[in-house]
């Protein structure tokens, strides 16, 4: 597989734009975000160096998070306080991850990326739902004013937050992965809020989406200084993913998400295996 792909800048830009558009569309429809397919797409299909792919992906992640958060925040699902508190953990993690990334050989990055893809596939395979609100109420939930409410069938339903330290630690891990691999790591963020902190699923997903932009911005500066962000690549990737995710958010109500999710899970599984194999053989 050592053929070299020679194409003009115009053709390359168009193909990358279309690929990014599809990645953004599927990412929004399945709730997994565009970053998880974008990086393997750029490296495995377009033979882009992993560092350029990570830089471009991180930029698209900020764009989609900010674009979608605008709507979610105004609908009243996402919790600004929970988001801000947990962003302390994700931003520290992201800066740490970005420093790790510049010191880690790309083949190892590829293997870690593959493992994250396999884990994302596993998470999306399992049935999602609200965990039963059990366990002791954390006194910090009220002290940190994290308890809130969200609209359910026109009525406000209140909730409290559990296992704050566990959620905080998991969020540091999510931030590190985001900074290391240039992804939003939404799956891990939702895991931390939904499963660990027992926050209602709808609040978890929207708050996660809201947090992704700030997490990614923490490591984007480091990547920019290191020269990982190429304007010729960032331009079609950012606009493509943004356009795709905006359309995806519009289609979400009509689409048959369960079928799409199954297909997407298999795609991620296959990409994960390929990333690991390529990393192992030193082809990335």
């Amino acid at each position: 597989m050592t053929y070299s792909l020679r194409m003009s800048v115009l053709v390359f830009t168009l193909l990358v734009f279309i690929g990014s558009f599809v990645a953004g569309l599927l990412g929004a429809l399945t709730g997994l975000g565009g970053g998880v397919v974008l990086v393997p797409l750029l490296t495995l299909v377009f033979h882009v160096d992993l560092r350029y792919a990570i830089g471009a992906s991180l930029i698209s992640v900020i764009a989609t998070s900010s674009g979608a958060a605008a709507a979610y925040v105004r609908e009243g699902f996402s919790n600004v306080r929970i988001g801000m508190f947990l962003e302390v953990a994700t931003t520290f993690g992201a800066v740490f991850g970005a420093f790790l990334a510049t010191r880690t050989p790309t083949r190892w990055l590829a293997i870690v990326f593959g493992v994250v893809l396999l884990y994302s596939a596993y998470l999306s395979w399992r049935q999602k739902g609200d965990a039963p609100p059990g366990g002791p109420v954390n006194p910090w939930s009220d002290r940190l004013r994290m308890s809130g409410s969200f609209p359910v069938n026109g009525k406000e339903q209140s909730y409290t937050v559990h296992h704050i330290s566990g959620g905080f630690a998991t969020m540091f891990g999510a931030g590190t992965l985001s900074g290391l691999l240039g992804i939003g790591s939404g799956a891990v963020k939702v895991l931390a809020m939904d499963k660990v902190m027992r926050i209602p699923f709808k609040v978890s997903t929207t708050t996660s989406n809201f947090m992704i932009g700030v997490t990614a911005a923490a490591s984007a500066g480091i990547y920019l200084h290191r020269g990982y962000i190429d304007p010729g690549l960032a331009f079609p990737v950012m606009l493509g993913v943004l356009a795709g995710s905006l359309l995806g958010a519009k289609l979400l109500a009509k689409a048959r998400v369960s079928m799409l999710r199954t297909v997407f899970t298999w795609v991620i599984l296959a990409l994960g295996v390929e990333m690991i194999v390529n990393g192992w053989l030193g082809k990335v």
């Binding site: 560092r51 958060a69 605008a70 508190f85 302390v88 700030v214 920019l224």
Partner: protein
């Protein structure tokens, strides 16, 4: 709004302020929207000019060669912007995009200050400090 949460309502009532979390959230949403729109417009303009200048060249991202200094530092970027380089216009859009979530955190710090919520002002400023560290820290 009839739909205010119990604790939120109680907390806001004790602070005689007209500024509450809901106001903050709606302004924040608008702020993020404007940021994304501005940066996308900038990237689009730069991208079209970039394609006009480089469309016929061969795309090569196979080998990593760090971007030149004029695209990595603010000073270098300003110089090439003044020279009208398309790649610099795209990179300015990228910087605007990175600045959008940062502006959101700055706005949150101000909002929490108006709500007299010192704990969350401190939390927001901590996040802001990490963001600024990431942005200015080079090499």
């Amino acid at each position: 709004m009839a739909g205010e949460g119990m604790s939120r309502e109680a907390a806001n009532a004790s602070r005689s302020s007209t500024f509450d979390d809901q106001r903050m959230e709606s302004i924040m949403g608008r702020l993020l929207q404007v940021g994304v729109l501005l940066s996308s417009a900038c990237v689009l303009v730069g991208g079209v000019l970039y394609l006009r200048a480089h469309a016929g060249g061969v795309a090569n991202y196979r080998v990593f060669a760090s971007e030149p200094a004029n695209l990595r530092t603010l000073k270098g970027l300003m110089v090439s912007l003044c020279a009208g380089r398309p790649s610099a216009i795209i990179q300015l859009g990228v910087l605007l995009l990175i600045a959008t979530p940062i502006a959101r955190v700055v706005f949150a710090a101000f909002s929490f200050a108006m709500e007299r919520d010192r704990l969350y002002v401190a939390i927001s400023l901590t996040v802001l400090a990490v963001l600024i560290f990431g942005l200015v820290h080079s090499s």
